[in-house]
Structures are given as C-alpha cells and as structure tokens.
C-alpha cells in the first residue's frame, strides 16, 4: 500500500490562508510534507511610485496581527535610505511600542491561536474545580483566575454548550485525541486562562495605544521620529502605561509562565511534540533598545543545532528560490536582483484520507511563498531562534531565563529543539521582554526631563537616488525591508518576512524549509483528524499575509545599500 495524502485547508487559528498537505505511510507516520499559501495580494507592487513617507503606513497593512511590525520596518528602512536618525526619545518610544506589541501578540498566540492544540476543552468538563484550584499552586506561587468558584463558573458555561451540542467556536475540533496530555484539572486551569487572556489582551492593546494611537494599525510613527510628543510629555499618560503594563506583566508571570511549566510537565514524554525541528539552523536579529548602550537581544545565526558557535549575518548570502513558488523563474536570486512575475498553476485532482480533493503537485510550483535560503541553507526564525542565538552568544539575561526554566521543568537543553521547546521559547521571550520593558520606559522618563525632541527634519532630494534597509525582530522572527527611492518616489520595495523563512516550499535543490521539515516523522493518531500537524505548525505562529510578497529589486547592486549596524537597536 502506498502513502496516503492528508490535506488540511484552511489551517485555522493563524493569520491568513495556509494549506498543509502530508503523506503518511501505513503506520500513519508522515513521510513528506508540503506547505502552500493560497493568497497573493501584491502589496509591494502597489508601493511602487508612492511617497516614501507613506511606505510604513502602507506596508503595515501587510498584517494586522503583528501590526506595527511592518510600519516600523517601513519607516526605518526609509530613514536608513535617507540617512535620517530619529531622536533618542523617538527610538525609545518605538522600542517601547514593540515591547508592548510582543506582550500582546504572544499572549494572544498562545491562548487563542495555539492553546486549543494543547488544551482539550471537553476534558475540562469532567474536572474537579476544587482539585484544579489546588493544583494551580504547583505551577505558580500565586495563580490567577483559578479560584474554585471561578473554575466552577467556567466549567458550567462551557458545559451548557456541550450538553446542547452547541460548541460555537469550539465545534468539530479534535477533542478526545490521545495526544492531548493534560488531566481534566489541568485543562480546566488552562481554559480559565484562555478566557482571562481575552480580557488581558484588551488591556495590552490599550497599553500599546497610549503611544501608538490605536491597536491594530497604530499611527504615531513618521520618517524622522514619532508624533506622540504630547503623550510622552504627559505624566498622566506615562502613569497609565505603567498601570496597564503591570496588569499584563502580572498575567504573563502568573498564568502564561505557569501554563507552559504545566505543559512541559504534562507533555514531557509525548513523542509528537518532541520532534518538530527538522531544520536545525537558526537566524535572529538585534532587538529591543533598553538604553543608549544596551539592546535586549543580539543578532547572529547558528548551524546544525550547534550552540558552541555563533556566526554573524552577511546580507549577501540571502537568496530566494522560486522553483516551487507561483512565480516565473527557477534560478535562485539575491533579493536585490529578484524578479516577480506571477505564474499560477493551481492544484490537481487527487485522493486523500478524507476523500476526493484538490491536491498539490509537488513536482510543480505549489505556493505563493518563496523559499529564502542563507548561504544555500534553510533557516528557522522566530522566538526559538532568538533565544538559541542569544543563549549561544552568552547573553546573560537569556541564559539565566532559559536556565531557570530548564531547571524548573527538569528538561535538558536538547528539549528546546522541539515543538514543545518552540512554544516554551515564545513564553520565555515574552517574559524577558516584559521584565525588561520597564528599563526602556525608565530610560524614556529619565530622558524627557532634559530633552523633549521627537522629530528630526529631513529633505528628500528628487534628483538623488537612495537605497536603504531595516533588519530586526518581530513577533514571528527576523524581518527585513528594503527600499530604493528615485525621483522622490519609491522605485522598489521588498520585504523578507519571518513566515517566508519558515513556511517556504522546497527549493531547486530539493531542500525543504522549516514547516515541511518539522512534520516529517510525525506520527498521527488519526490522519482524518490531524491534530498533531496543527500543533507543530501552530508552534511557529504562522502569518501568511506577511509571508506572501513579491520581490522586484531588478538591477540593484548590494553596494548601493548602506548597510550600517543597527544603531537604534530597533526591534519590530
């Protein structure tokens, strides 16, 4: 009997439109996996010919989940091109906004997008709330939202739905799958946090809006600085930020951290979450300015999971391959020379474990995402990469946080190189950021005592050509934006996005990317209900709108780009 095909489309609880297909053998073990993005919007084409000052606001519309990431990247790429340095206050505010974004985005990801891969809602119904309430103290000294009364109320509400077969958004999921490992009590604790997180994320969004104008899609950055001068000079506003920050940080410390510790214990021997790292190369950029001299995270990459050696990134070694992407061409190209010409070939008819469907023809093109490579190698980016690179770099803050977590859970360092490790890394990164955001905030408070500048004036000379770029970290990993300006307008625009690194298809050499590689060898309990696949893919936090973009950097030489070290410690 040959391999059978499993099609999952739509992958829900992500940003955008993603299809995953796997081939399983007679033991239901994944032999091959294919990742396909099924939407193309063409935003970089749209950016051409526009005012460079609009690049940030337009690029921001690539994605509303990691909102702000592309806004900041667009603004800073243009600043880099024009040689404008935003004042210190502005750079601190941008860093503070980024920290606020992570504290929001990662919490929403774990609870509302990824959580239901770990938490069996139906199992929570048979929990004993009193027992669960007591159990919560095992994972946190002062647990949150786990009082017996509260847990009883949560259970009652969900029970009513289940009794009537009305699960609303919880309907028709893979409840009862054998790879759910939490006890009923643990499920109930996490379910209560799921609901609590809905409240907390609102506060996190407010915290962001204080200096960002609104969330999603803030509007307080401009090329040259920030516009929220009244907010940063207002003691009331500063106090509001701090108050909301404390609420969110509290939830991260007492719920998010506790639940991951609980997951590490419950899932510590579950095979299906102890693989999931097929590409063992990890890439990360500098991020999070704390003050004039210190950034929270540093850049670099590691190869083959070897933590003893960190390499510096060389832009010249980034290439993108379109052999299996829906664009014309087969030769890998440097982003600067990339050409974009859609060539859609669609899907073919085929048989799957769920019946007849449209399926990927893997010998042809099959995704709107290109395949980025560094020095010919696939790379994973994201919170796990960020922590591994910094751990290997000897970043003390990271080493201490990771070390404490491993000690607490009894897991070896090797456990980081797993689906579970990737999910834990996101929490640890959130914790590091929320612990250190206050340093950025205090730097700002200190500086405005003697300096209220928020904007640097600049001119765009229509007779000059400019090129520039931004590289930094955003919630889903390393992001870079590249811009060329001519006649005072955008001549070319390009974004190399985290999910592109992770979700890209096979390249011309047959090398597969992190999503596809992470699924090979995964055993499915029931191929018709592939929960295990979702868990692995969700651990990357997919963002498809971000990852599908076009490149059109024809004829740009690298030497034209002013590549300067990240002076602003800009994160995104």
């Amino acid at each position: 009997m040959g391999n059978r095909r499993v099609v999952i489309d739509p992958i829900t609880r992500i940003e955008g439109h993603l299809r995953i297909e796997v081939e399983v053998d007679e033991n239901n073990v994944v032999q091959k996996a294919y990742s396909s993005s099924t939407l193309w919007r063409g935003i970089e084409l749209i950016l051409k010919g526009r005012d460079p000052r609009d690049a940030g606001l337009m690029a921001q519309r690539i994605c509303g989940v990691c909102t702000y990431s592309h806004y900041k990247a667009g603004v800073e790429a243009v600043e880099n091109a024009l040689g404008v340095e935003a004042p210190y206050n502005a750079r601190l505010v941008r860093s503070l906004l980024n920290e606020s974004l992570y504290m929001h985005d990662h919490v929403v990801h774990f609870y509302h997008l990824h959580g239901l891969d770990w938490v069996d809602v139906v199992s929570a119904l048979s929990a004993d709330p009193a027992k669960a309430s007591k159990l919560a103290f095992k994972y946190s000294d002062s647990p949150i939202a786990t009082g017996t009364d509260e847990l009883t109320a949560v259970q009652k509400r969900v029970k009513e739905f289940v009794d009537k077969g009305q699960l609303g958004p919880f309907a028709n999921a893979y409840w009862g799958n054998g790879t759910y490992k939490f006890s009923p009590e643990q499920n109930l604790i996490a379910l209560s946090h799921y609901l609590k997180a809905l409240e907390v994320q609102r506060v996190a969004a407010q915290m962001f809006a204080i200096f960002g104008a609104k969330q999603p899609h803030p509007q307080s950055l401009v090329v040259g600085g920030v516009t929220c001068v009244r907010d940063i000079l207002s003691p009331t506003r500063l106090a509001q930020w701090k108050e909301k920050y404390k609420i969110v940080k509290d939830f991260i410390d007492r719920a998010y951290q506790a639940d991951i510790i609980m997951a590490a214990e419950a899932y510590g021997t579950e095979e299906t979450v102890l693989g999931g790292v097929g590409v063992k190369n990890f890439l990360a950029a500098d991020a999070f300015m704390l003050n004039r001299t210190e950034n929270l995270f540093q850049s670099g990459y590691i190869k083959n999971g070897d933590l003893s050696q960190v390499y510096d990134i060389d832009d010249m070694k980034i290439e993108e391959d379109v052999t299996h992407a829906w664009y014309k061409g087969t030769t890998p190209l440097q982003p600067y020379d990339g050409v974009t010409d859609p060539e859609y070939t669609g899907f073919i008819d085929g048989d799957t474990v769920n019946g007849e469907a449209k399926i990927i023809d893997e010998t042809q093109k099959y995704s709107w995402v290109k395949a980025p490579r560094y020095d010919g190698e696939a790379m994973e980016v994201g919170p796990l990469s960020c922590l591994l690179v910094n751990y290997a770099r000897g970043n003390k803050k990271v080493q201490n946080e990771v070390g404490a977590f491993l000690k607490r859970t009894g897991l070896p360092v090797g456990a980081l190189f797993t689906t579970l490790g990737r999910t834990a890394a996101r929490m640890l990164q959130t914790k590091l950021i929320s612990d250190n955001a206050i340093i950025t905030f205090n730097s700002l408070v200190e500086n405005i005592k003697s300096d209220d500048s928020t904007y640097t004036k600049f001119e765009i000379n229509p007779d000059k050509e400019y090129t520039g770029r931004f590289i930094g970290e955003v919630p889903r990993g390393t992001l870079s934006h590249w811009v060329r300006i001519k006649n005072g307008l955008i001549e070319n625009y390009q974004a190399v996005v985290p999910t592109t690194w992770n979700a890209g298809p096979m390249d011309g050499n047959g090398t597969i990317g992190p999503y596809e590689a992470s699924l090979v060898g995964l055993k499915l309990e029931d191929p018709a209900k592939p929960l295990e696949v979702l868990r692995v893919i969700h651990s990357f936090d997919p963002c498809m709108s971000c990852s599908v973009h076009v490149m059109d950097m024809k004829g740009v030489e690298l030497s034209e780009f002013k590549v300067t070290p990240m002076s602003s410690g800009a994160a995104c």
Partner: protein, 381 residues
C-alpha cells in the same frame, strides 16, 4: 417624536419576532452575566452606551437590553478573504460586550477562522452546516477584499481549492444581512490600490445582495459591535450614506467634531512634527490630516476603549474609511492640494469626487490657498 415612536414600535415588533425564533441557548443573558460577575447595572450602563452611540434617545435603552437577550437567535458567520486579519483583531478588542461573552453568551459565532478550534475538512463542514442549518437567519460578516482577476484564483480556500469569489457568492445567498467589516471588504482596500494586481473588489461589487459597509482600517471595535446591535434591535438596515455606511457612525466628518478644531479655526497649525505647535496639540491639517474629507466617528469614539486615536497621538487622519483612500488621500502626510499624482489618470478623477462629496466646511479653496501663502511662522524652526 413621531419618527421615534414609529422606530420604538418597530423595535418592539422586532423583539417579539425574535422571541418567537428558536433559541440556540437556554439561559438568559442576565443569568449568564450574573454568573460572570457582571451586575445588571453594568449591563444597563452598557446598553445605554450603545443607545447613545447609535444616536437613539434614552428610552431605547431597556429595549436594547431586551434585544440582547434574543441575540442567541442570530448566528454569525465571519469569512476571511484578501485581508490582514486586522479587523478580526479589532473586533476581539471590543470591551462591551466583551468578546468572551460574545463568544460564549450572546451571539452564536458559528464560523471564524481566526478563533475557531476546527481546521481543514472539519472547518469546511462547520461552514456548510451553518449555511444550511441557519439559512435565511445568519448574519454574514466579511473581512477582506475579493480578488477577481485570473478567475479569482489569487485566493483559494478549503480542500477543494474554491476561489474566494465562489465562496462569497454561495455564503451571501441565504444571509439575513451582510456586513462588510473594514475597508478591504467595503471598497477593496490595500490590495485594490493602484495598480490593483489581483483585481480586488469590495464585496458589494461581486454579489447582488444589499451590503452594509463598515469601513476603516481597521474599523473601531465599537463600530463593528454597534452595527451588529443595530441590526439586532431593528432587524433592518440602518440609514446609510451613499457608500452604504451607517449614518450613525459615518454621518460626520472627522473634522466636524475634532478635538483640535478650535486650532484650525484659529489658524494654529503644526508646521513640523515635534514643534511647539505639536506639543500644544495644534491642528494637523498642514501635516496632511484628511479629517475634512473623512466621514467617521473616531473624533468621539476613538479606539481601544477610548484610549487614543491618530489625531490624539499627533498624526493626521489618513482617511482610511473612504473609498480608494490609498490613491486619493496620498501622500498621507501632505495636504491634498499639494497632491502628488502618481501618473494615474483614474486617481485624478477620484480626487475630484472626493473633493466634491466632502464639501470643505470652513475651508473654501481660497482659505486653503491662504493657509499656504501666509507663512507667518512666528515660531521659527
């Protein structure tokens, strides 16, 4: 008052009709809220807030409270097309009613790809089930533009790789009401900006049913929830403007109720970001604020539970709830009359319509010109 009496009677009838529909849940909203520790007083306060937002007199507040009790009779189906998920994100930022109560207690959210647990075949099954079971009853909320070029194949969905175009056509067929949430669904949005490589269009351009547009990039959570609540209370479309936007939300220009309007009238403008005028909160017209051309209630509603809004944060409005704003309002940080046209003839025409439809209250062309001629910058830079 007669008009209101009629409206009142209409709402009463609506509640009666709703109460005759089969309930999806058994417990009343009050019992549910009580279980969540929300007091009746808070609930009534919320109802009063929505009543005020929809510009209805206060006697409608108890009706609202009654209507909300019937909310579980109205299943919601939320579909995603060419979008960035920003509108969903805005929706889950709503505070009243809180999204958790929306999910669990009030409205039956039958399909929402960002939030639902099911994936793949099972997700598809949920959608088909909801469309069948609640035919004629469900509210269809649409996020994202519809790519129409290449037979719609720039977006495919589900195991059968159906185009977005065919999914929306089918889902619209039996909907009780269709709301386009956000500027992409309403007018095509960012992907429809020139040169619109995928032929993206607003929902009402690709289906024949009436559509209520709730534009904004993203719209505030309160505009999304308010639109839902209005439908719940009256069961009919609200008064709409020429772009099919509810007048209660999109009836005024940003400029009309702007907190910085006094500075505009006094001729006090921010001449450069970060200058003394910026610190004083002066008018942002010269920094490209599109408030005079933009119809929305951000000036009063703001975002994230009234925490802030673009003009509050010192950046001009960019006109995001207007059709084709990316093309007609850009460059976003320059006033329209110093417009840099991108070599697109269609854009020039659109600027014309924008200007014609948004009569510049207090800004005659002459006045505009004089703003730019009188450079009495006493401040110096």
């Amino acid at each position: 008052m007669n008009g209101f009496d009629a409206l009142y009677a209409k709402a009463k009838d609506r509640i009666r009709a709703l109460s005759e529909l089969p309930s999806i849940k058994e417990e009343s909203i009050e019992q549910m809220l009580e279980a969540r520790g929300v007091e009746r007083r808070d609930f009534m306060k919320w109802a009063a807030g929505i009543t005020a937002m929809l510009a209805l007199p206060s006697q409608f507040t108890p009706l609202f409270a009654d209507a909300v009790k019937m909310a579980d009779r109205i299943p919601l189906v939320w579909l995603h097309f060419a979008e960035c998920t920003g509108c969903s994100e805005s929706f889950i930022r709503s505070d009243a009613p809180t999204i958790d109560s929306l999910i669990f207690d009030y409205i039956s959210l039958e399909y929402h790809e960002t939030l639902m647990a099911a994936s793949g075949w099972q997700a598809e099954e949920n959608l088909n089930h909801a469309l069948k079971k609640y035919a004629g009853r469900y509210i269809l909320l649409v996020e994202g533009g519809i790519p129409t070029a290449m037979d719609g194949q720039y977006l495919t969905l589900g195991p059968q790789s159906r185009t977005g175009l065919s999914v929306i056509t089918e889902a619209a067929k039996d909907a009780a009401a269709i709301f386009s949430i956000g500027t992409c669904a309403a007018f095509g949005g960012i992907q429809a900006a020139a040169p619109n490589p995928t032929g993206a269009k607003g929902v009402d351009k690709v289906i024949s049913q009436p559509v209520i547009n709730v534009p904004g990039c993203p719209p505030s959570a309160s505009n999304i929830v308010g639109t839902l609540m209005h439908f719940l209370l009256f069961g009919t479309l609200p008064a709409l403007d020429r772009y099919h936007r509810p007048k209660w939300a999109y009836g005024n220009r940003i400029h009309d109720l702007c907190e910085r309007r006094g500075h505009f009238d006094a001729g006090e403008f921010v001449e450069s970001f970060g200058d003394d005028g910026a610190k004083e909160g002066w008018c942002l017209y010269k920094q490209g604020c599109k408030g005079p051309y933009t119809f929305n209630n951000c000036s009063t509603e703001r975002f994230n539970q009234h925490v802030n809004w673009p003009i509050g944060a010192g950046h001009g409005c960019m006109g995001c709830s207007e059709p084709d704003f990316w093309d007609t309002m850009g460059p976003l940080e320059k006033p329209i009359d110093s417009h840099l046209v991108m070599g697109l003839n269609s854009t020039v025409d659109k600027i014309g319509t924008t200007l014609l439809t948004a009569t510049l209250v207090g800004i005659g062309a002459h006045a505009v010109a004089s703003i730019f001629m009188n450079k009495n910058d006493e401040k110096g830079e």
